[in-house]
C-alpha cells in the first residue's frame, strides 16, 4: 500500500518524463481530457488533466467530470509511475481497469505503455 505522498512523488516523476517526451506529447495532441484515478485499496481519488499536450500535476480528490476513470491499487499506480511496472500486464489481468470511451481508453492504454517503454 502506497501513501498519498509516495503516489504524488511517483506521479511527479512520471509527469516530468512524459511532458519531455516528444513521442508522448504527439500522442496527446488535440486530446484535452480529465482523468480520475481511484485507488481501490486506500479508497482515494486523484485527478489529472491533459491540456495543450501537457500533463497537469496530480491533485488529491476527484475534480470535474472525468473522461476516463482509472482504478487500481496505490502500489500498482506507484510502480507504474516509477516505470517499474508494465501497465499492459495489469490491464490484461484486470488489476487496473480503465473506464471511458473506447478511443479514450485506447489512448490511455497506449500512452501508459509508451511511458513505461521509454522510461
Amino acid at each position: 500500500m502506497a501513501s498519498t505522498e509516495e503516489l504524488l512523488e511517483a506521479y511527479a516523476e512520471w509527469r516530468g518524463r512524459s511532458n519531455g517526451n516528444p513521442r508522448l506529447t504527439s500522442m496527446v495532441r488535440g486530446w484535452d481530457r480529465v482523468i480520475h484515478f481511484t485507488t481501490v485499496d486506500t479508497e482515494q481519488g486523484f485527478t489529472m488533466r491533459v491540456a495543450g499536450q501537457q500533463l497537469s500535476e496530480l491533485t488529491v480528490g476527484h475534480e470535474g467530470q472525468p473522461d476516463v476513470v482509472v482504478s487500481g491499487s496505490s502500489e500498482d499506480f506507484c510502480d507504474m509511475f516509477w516505470g517499474d511496472l508494465n501497465p499492459s500486464e495489469k490491464y490484461m489481468s484486470g488489476e487496473i481497469t480503465l473506464l471511458g470511451s473506447q478511443q479514450d481508453v485506447m489512448r490511455i492504454d497506449a500512452i501508459s505503455m509508451v511511458a513505461f517503454l521509454d522510461s
Binding site: M27, Q102, M106, A110, V114, D118
Partner: protein, 476 residues
C-alpha cells in the same frame, strides 16, 4: 443429367454464418426461403472437425470478443458456451535468431521499437476512427488514402525496423496478406469496423478474447437446424439468371460422399426460381458464377479487385499444454518465420495441449508448393524454438490451407487493393435487380469476422423484406 425445379420467394446462396442468418431472419418473417451451399456442410469459413486423433479442431474462424454482439446473442440463444483464450504468463518473441519473453500486446525486447510501434498503432487507429464504416469512400482524403498501401503508411510512420516487422506480423494475421497489398483506405475502414488495430490484435479485451466450447461451427449448425429442409447441401451454384422481378439459380446437386467440386459427381441439376436472391459469398467467389445478364461492370470489377487473403491455419496437438509449466501463454510473435503468430488453443479444461498458428500472405503462397509435410516441418521448427524440443513431437498436426479450399479460395477475408474502394466500393452492397449481397465483406461492423457475417446477413434479409413489400431499398 436430369433437372429438378423448385420455387420459393428467396434463394440464398451460401450456408455460412451470413447466409444462414439471412435465411433464418426471412423464415421467421414468414418468407419461403431456400439456402444452397456447395459443400456437404454448413458454416463456410467456420469449420469444426474432430481430428483423426480425436481432437476438436476449429479449422476456420473461432474467436469472439467484446462488442461482437450479434455473435454473442446467437451463442446465448443456442446455448453454446464460451471460455477465455489462455493468456496467463509470457509470450515468446522469435526475432533475428533470438528468443525473448514478453507480456502484453507487443514484444518489448526492443523497448524503443515497441514504443514506436504502439505510438504508430495509436495514430493508425485514430485515423481509422475518422473513416465512416458505411461509406469509407466518403472519408476525408479518401482518394489519396486509397491510392497508397498500408505498407507506405507504416514505412513512413515507423522509425524502428523491429516495430515495422512486428506490425507486419499483426497485419498478416489480421488480413491474411501483407501490408503491401492493402489499400490504406480499406485498412483504415477494416480497423474501424473492428474497433482498431489494437483491439484486433488483442486477446484479453480484444478480438481473440474467447472461444466456443466445442467449436464455432456449432452456431452455424444451430441456425441450419432451425431451417431444416430449407438448407440444401452439396449443391454448387453455377448460374444466376435474373430480370427485374425474378431470379433463377442453377446448381448441380451432388450426393453425400461425392466431391462437390467435381462436375462429374453431380446426380442431377437444380433450378431454383425465386423473387429475390441473397448471395452470401465473398465478392471474388460471386464473380465465378455465370450471371445472365452479366453483372454491371462495377460490380464485376469489384470482385476482381477484392481478392481473398491467403492463410494456412495449423494446429499442433500435445498430450498437455506443457509450455504453461514454463510460465508461457502459448503466444508467439516471430517476424520472418514461417509461423509468424500463434496462440494457445487448448481446450478450457486443458485436457490436452494445442497451439494454433497462422502462415499468411506470401509465406502461405510460397509454402503451398512446398506441400503439407514441408509446411508442418517448418512450423514444428518454429514451435521448438519457442517452446523447446518437446514441441517437435506433437501427437498430431492438423492444417487447413484455405487457398486450396475450392469454395472459399483463401481467407480469412477478402481484401481491397489500392484504388478499388473509392472507384467501386458503392457496388459492394448495392442490389442488382433482385440480387442482394451478404457475406462478412459487406459488413460495416466487424467486417471479416463471424460477427460481421451475421450482421451482413441480417442487413441483406431486411433489404429483401423491404423489397418484397414493394418498398425502396435505401442504400449508400
Amino acid at each position: 443429367m436430369s433437372e429438378h425445379v423448385r420455387e420459393c420467394e428467396v434463394v440464398v446462396v451460401g450456408a455460412g454464418y451470413s447466409g444462414l442468418a439471412a435465411a433464418r431472419h426471412l423464415v421467421r418473417a414468414g418468407v419461403d426461403t431456400l439456402v444452397l451451399d456447395a459443400r456437404h456442410r454448413v458454416g463456410g469459413r467456420s469449420f469444426t472437425e474432430v481430428s483423426e486423433a480425436g481432437y476438436t479442431v476449429d479449422r476456420g474462424g473461432q474467436w469472439i470478443g467484446p462488442t461482437q454482439d450479434h455473435l454473442a446473442a446467437l451463442a446465448a440463444e443456442l446455448g453454446v458456451a464460451t471460455f477465455p483464450t489462455f493468456t496467463e504468463g509470457q509470450g515468446v518473441e522469435l526475432r533475428d535468431g533470438n528468443r525473448h519473453l514478453y507480456v502484453g500486446l507487443i514484444p518489448t525486447s526492443d523497448p524503443e521499437g515497441a514504443a514506436d510501434g504502439i505510438a504508430c498503432m495509436l495514430h493508425l487507429d485514430l485515423a481509422a476512427f475518422d473513416v465512416p464504416v458505411d461509406a469509407p469512400w466518403d472519408a476525408a482524403d479518401a482518394a489519396a488514402r486509397d491510392a497508397q498501401t498500408l505498407a507506405t503508411y507504416l514505412d513512413s510512420h515507423l522509425t524502428s525496423a523491429s516495430a515495422r516487422a512486428i506490425l507486419e506480423v499483426a497485419v498478416k494475421a489480421i488480413f491474411g496478406t501483407g501490408s503491401g497489398e492493402l489499400s490504406l483506405l480499406f485498412s483504415l475502414f477494416y480497423l474501424h469496423a473492428g474497433g482498431g488495430l489494437t483491439n484486433l490484435a488483442r486477446t484479453t479485451g480484444g478480438a481473440q478474447e474467447r472461444r466456443f466450447a466445442g467449436g464455432s461451427q456449432q452456431l452455424a449448425e444451430g441456425m441450419a437446424a432451425e431451417l431444416a429442409e430449407r438448407v440444401l447441401l452439396g449443391a454448387p451454384v453455377e448460374s444466376v439468371t435474373y430480370d427485374a422481378d425474378h431470379v433463377t439459380v442453377g446448381a448441380r446437386v451432388v450426393p453425400p460422399g461425392a466431391d462437390p467440386a467435381d462436375p462429374a459427381a453431380a446426380h442431377h441439376g437444380l433450378r431454383v426460381r425465386a423473387r429475390r436472391a441473397i448471395l452470401a459469398m465473398a465478392p471474388a467467389l460471386c464473380g465465378r458464377l455465370d450471371f445472365s445478364p452479366p453483372l454491371p461492370g462495377n460490380r464485376d470489377q469489384l470482385g476482381q479487385r477484392m481478392p481473398m487473403g491467403a492463410v494456412t491455419k495449423i494446429h499442433a496437438f500435445y498430450d498437455e499444454p506443457f509450455w504453461r509449466a514454463d510460465g508461457l501463454n502459448g503466444q508467439i510473435v516471430a517476424p520472418g518465420s514461417i509461423l509468424e503468430s500463434a496462440f494457445d488453443n487448448s481446450p478450457d479444461d486443458a485436457s490436452h495441449g494445442a497451439i494454433v498458428g497462422f502462415i499468411a500472405g506470401d509465406d502461405c503462397r510460397r509454402m503451398e508448393a512446398a506441400g503439407p509435410a514441408a509446411r508442418q516441418a517448418a512450423v514444428l521448427d518454429d514451435l521448438a524454438r519457442a517452446f523447446g524440443p518437446r514441441a517437435r513431437t506433437p501427437v498430431e498436426v492438423v492444417e487447413q490451407h484455405w487457398p486450396a479450399e475450392p469454395f472459399t479460395r483463401g481467407g480469412p477475408v477478402a481484401i481491397s487493393s489500392p484504388g478499388a474502394l473509392t472507384a467501386l466500393g458503392p457496388a459492394l452492397r448495392r442490389p442488382v435487380g433482385p440480387l442482394h449481397w451478404a457475406g462478412t465483406e459487406t459488413a460495416t461492423q466487424w467486417c471479416g469476422y463471424l460477427d460481421g457475417a451475421l450482421s451482413a446477413g441480417l442487413r441483406a434479409a431486411d433489404e429483401v423484406l423491404h423489397a418484397l413489400q414493394g418498398e425502396p431499398v435505401g442504400l449508400d
